[in-house]
């Protein structure tokens, strides 16, 4: 069922240490990101309040980071520590999802370590179902061989997901019509290096070059299918993927250092290379590369239990409420639920004072006011337009709405109404942010 590994014949403890170190690094990085964020117009409109409340909440972040780092260290220290591994994944998950909810979707370079550790845990669970407990020294190597295969499989799934996304979006035409050219143009840091500037310019000016790079991108990512199934195939794919990551990093600032570390650690026969080196100096034989996983099919009961566990996780991942939440990660489209648009009443005296005599036709930070009134007592509705796009915003006294406000000021929660005819971009959130800034300026005045 499972092919040989470059780590066969050796302890997987170094791999465990690498995974633990990467998780601890991700936890600290995640906490650092969240420590500088606050809920804003681009925050997830349906994010739980406790998740958004982590933004800039240093005591809470310190606790989560401490738990995550401690769990990562404990996982790395001893084999078979499934509980600590899950605690580390949970801590990193909370921080990554808080960042995603606060800012504008998740940073995917933070996913690789968590995916690999999840695979490692799955391998340990599969081993337990076979009666192998990594905590028992005589069973550690065989159990962690399965954990290693789980981790490598999860990393492979990440790259295959990336290539499937590209092919699913535009097919093989991605090589010609894909966004690589656009990515380089929009992301390259000009002026950092004359050589890299020349490379980026060459890629932008010569279509054949960017098509070649795009083809290499697909090839290297698709090669990940070799990672779990072949000793040499794993090394070949790791080389291709490291080349891909290096190229992307040089032509843009986009880096996936955790993925690169995982590829280096898991992709090559380090134990054999070190053993050969030792053998030369000590005149000893190199380690035999015998498979640590018994050939043939594992017990059917273990397979069935593992499949059932996987089915449970996959089933949870397809729950409609969860999908509805995650699909808004990068396409935020909700403020208040879309209500009917009744005729607006004139502004009350209190609202008129609040808005400082604002009238239809006035400008707020580049947005023209085209409609102004109240849909309910104290609930101001204001339509803003800019370059042919419009958004209907609502200003409610803070804390009076049942919905999480995408942006708030000291005294008010701001929402927007969205209709199906709106373009799928961030325009409403930008308008809301401008309105919030204008309101804050007014709130600061005596």
């Amino acid at each position: 069922m499972i092919a040989a590994s470059p780590w066969d014949g050796a302890s997987r403890a170094p791999l465990r240490v690498v995974l633990g170190a990467l998780m601890a690094f991700d936890v600290l990085l995640g906490a650092w990101f969240v420590s500088s964020l606050r809920p804003s117009a681009i925050s997830h409109p349906h994010a739980p309040g406790w998740l958004l409340a982590l933004g800039s909440n240093l005591p809470a972040l310190a606790v989560i980071a401490s738990v995550g780092v401690a769990a990562s260290v404990q996982f790395a220290r001893r084999a078979g520590q499934i509980g600590y591994a899950l605690a580390a994944i949970c801590a990193a998950g909370v921080l990554v999802e808080a960042q995603a909810a606060l800012l504008e979707g998740p940073m995917r370079f933070l996913f690789f370590s968590g995916a690999a550790l999840t695979g490692w845990v799955a391998g340990l669970v599969f081993a337990r179902f076979q009666g192998l407990d990594a905590r028992r020294p005589e069973q550690t190597r065989r159990a962690e061989a399965l954990a290693e295969q789980g981790a490598v499989s999860a990393v492979a799934a990440c790259y295959l997901g990336a290539v499937a996304s590209k092919l699913g979006s535009t097919g093989v035409r991605w090589v010609v019509d894909g966004g690589l050219q656009s990515t380089i143009a929009a992301q390259h840091t000009w002026g950092r290096s004359a050589l890299l500037d020349a490379l980026a310019l060459a890629a932008l000016e010569h279509a054949w070059l960017v098509h070649g790079l795009a083809g290499f991108t697909l090839l290297s990512q698709a090669s990940a299918v070799l990672l779990p199934f072949s000793r040499r195939g794993r090394s070949l794919s790791a080389l291709l993927l490291l080349g891909f990551h290096t190229g992307v990093w040089l032509l843009t600032p986009i880096a996936f250092p955790q993925a690169m570390v995982l590829l280096v650690a898991f992709g090559f026969p380090w134990p054999r290379w070190f053993a050969k080196s030792l053998a030369r100096s000590q005149a000893q034989g190199a380690l035999p590369a015998l498979p640590d996983v018994a050939p043939g099919l594992p017990p059917s009961a273990a397979v069935l239990r593992t499949v059932a566990a996987f089915a449970l996780v996959v089933g949870l991942a397809w729950l409609p409420p969860l999908r509805a939440y995650t699909q808004l990660q990068h396409r935020r489209s909700a403020g208040q639920s879309e209500p009917a648009s009744p005729a607006l009443a004139p502004l009350s005296e209190q609202s008129r004072t609040l808005l400082g005599g604002l009238q239809v036709g006035d400008e707020i930070r580049g947005f023209r006011v085209t409609e102004l009134g109240e849909s309910a007592p104290g609930l101001v509705v204001i339509t803003l337009e800019r370059e042919g796009q419009r958004v209907v915003a609502e200003i409610a006294p803070r804390g009076t709405s049942q919905f999480s406000a995408p942006v708030s000021t000291a005294r008010f929660d701001l929402f927007y109404r969205r209709s199906s005819s709106d373009p799928p971009d961030d325009f409403p959130l930008v308008a809301l942010d401008a309105l919030a800034t204008w309101l804050r300026e007014r709130e600061r005045r005596p």
Binding site: A100, A162, G179, A185, G191, F310, G366
Partner: protein, 122 residues
């Protein structure tokens, strides 16, 4: 594990630690643009190469376009945050522009001026 991760990721799209990694999977479009600093000599430079920025009236960068070509919103936001965080006085005249990269044969300007500023090289 490979199949389970792939199926779970397809379900949630992006929920730690599962992702389909959909970044950069779309088409290139006709072009893209980015906000850059244009020096008095006409050179295009990253805004981060300068500090102590002072602009006449800094627009909301992500709402600006050049010949109908916009940029990547989060990068525009990062640029604007940088400009606001590195405000100051003095230095040389700089034009904040949106530089355009075209991927089709349509004739477009290479850049559009956004606002006149002054800034000091870092």
């Amino acid at each position: 594990m490979l199949g389970a991760y792939a199926l779970a990721a397809r379900g949630v799209e992006n929920l730690y630690p599962f992702s389909v990694f959909p970044m950069y999977s779309g088409e290139a479009g006709t072009g893209t643009s980015r906000v850059m600093a244009r020096t008095a000599e006409g050179a295009f430079v990253e805004v981060t190469a300068f500090e102590r920025w002072q602009c006449d009236a800094l627009p909301v960068l992500e709402t600006t376009t050049c010949a109908g070509v916009g940029g990547i919103p989060y990068i525009d936001r990062e640029r604007e945050q940088y400009l606001r965080a590195h405000a100051g006085t003095g230095g040389q005249p700089i034009e904040l522009v949106r530089r355009v990269f075209s991927f089709d044969d349509v004739a477009r300007p290479t850049h559009c001026p956004l606002v006149r500023c002054t800034a000091v090289p870092r």
